[in-house]
Amino acid sequence: MSESAAAREPLGRRMNRVWRIFGTGLSFACFGIGAVLMGFTVWPVLRLTTTNPRRGIARVQRAVSGSMRVFLWLMKSVGVISYEVHGVEKLRERGQFVVANHPTLIDVVFLVSLMPEVDCIVKQALWRNVFLRWPVFWAGYISNASGEGLVAACAAALNQGRSLMVFPEGTRTRPGQPLTLQRGTAQIALAAPADLRPVTITCNPITLFKGNPWYRVPPRKAHFVISVGDSIPIDAFLAAGEPLPLAARHLTQALTRWFEAACAQQHGILRRETLSKS
């Protein structure tokens, strides 16, 4: 390789990196502007032109799901991310309790884009966020502010045949730290009771993780793999007749092991594919 070629290679990479910073900023700007515009126009119209509040919420959720697909298409088109989804047909069924690991900021975007109607738990800070407060309000998402009432509210949503999506970690994973799940997910599953539909999300190279600002883009384009797993039946955890707090601990442990294994496998497959390509 000539000296000039060696010098050109990093320049190309550098230009690609700068482009991806621009593309990420552009995508997020569109997201914010879109959220505000829709939050004041389309979402309230969809919600308020029916007298049935549940039908209004379902309409907004389907529209939000569609707009998330547009947002992902934008990020893919400008070359910021690529992604593949496996087992999406398993998400079609209604009234599912979807639980996913949470490596990045846009995990919720993927899940909402894949499910036309789904309730999410939204943290209190977003209800005050200028961009997101109106969309989350019109979509009828569940606030985490209710504390102890939250488990009951989530179980009620599932019992009414709605789908619910939860990140059991409660916040994004810190890379390199062991996976720690909060017990709330298990408590919801046991209270409903509802089987769990696990979704494994991996991102390589990792980007938009906890504490990493959006403009610090990874060395290469980030590739997301989203795999929908087989249902985890709740019966086994109820059958033992244990007190609920104990059953919640056992289910949380089982779920932690499930996600550790699934993430390790998904990363392993990625690594092998990367090696075989190079």
Partner: protein
């Protein structure tokens, strides 16, 4: 009337039954939330169990300031000093 030590031992048993907490970790100084990983929903179950055992009505207020195992033992002791509330 139970002694403080008896209440403590009984609480240890309850924590093991309900939450599988190793009795060796249950000391008077142990913090319920930080050291024993008892969350807010567990607290509800714990109070329900204590109601059964003591036969006393428990107002959530009485446990609001409980932070450590020692605080819980004191709160239970205070409960037991009072006659069962008239139903």
């Amino acid at each position: 009337m139970q002694s403080t030590q008896e209440i403590f031992e009984q609480l240890r048993g309850v924590l093991q039954d309900l939450f599988e907490i190793d009795p060796a970790h249950v000391t008077l100084e142990a913090h319920l939330y930080n050291d024993l990983e008892i969350d807010s929903i567990d607290t509800i179950d714990l109070i329900l169990r204590l109601k059964e055992i003591t036969g006393r009505k428990i107002q959530p207020d009485q446990f609001r300031h409980v932070r450590t195992v020692g605080d819980a033992v004191n709160a239970i002791e205070t409960l037991l000093q009072h006659k069962p509330a008239a139903a």
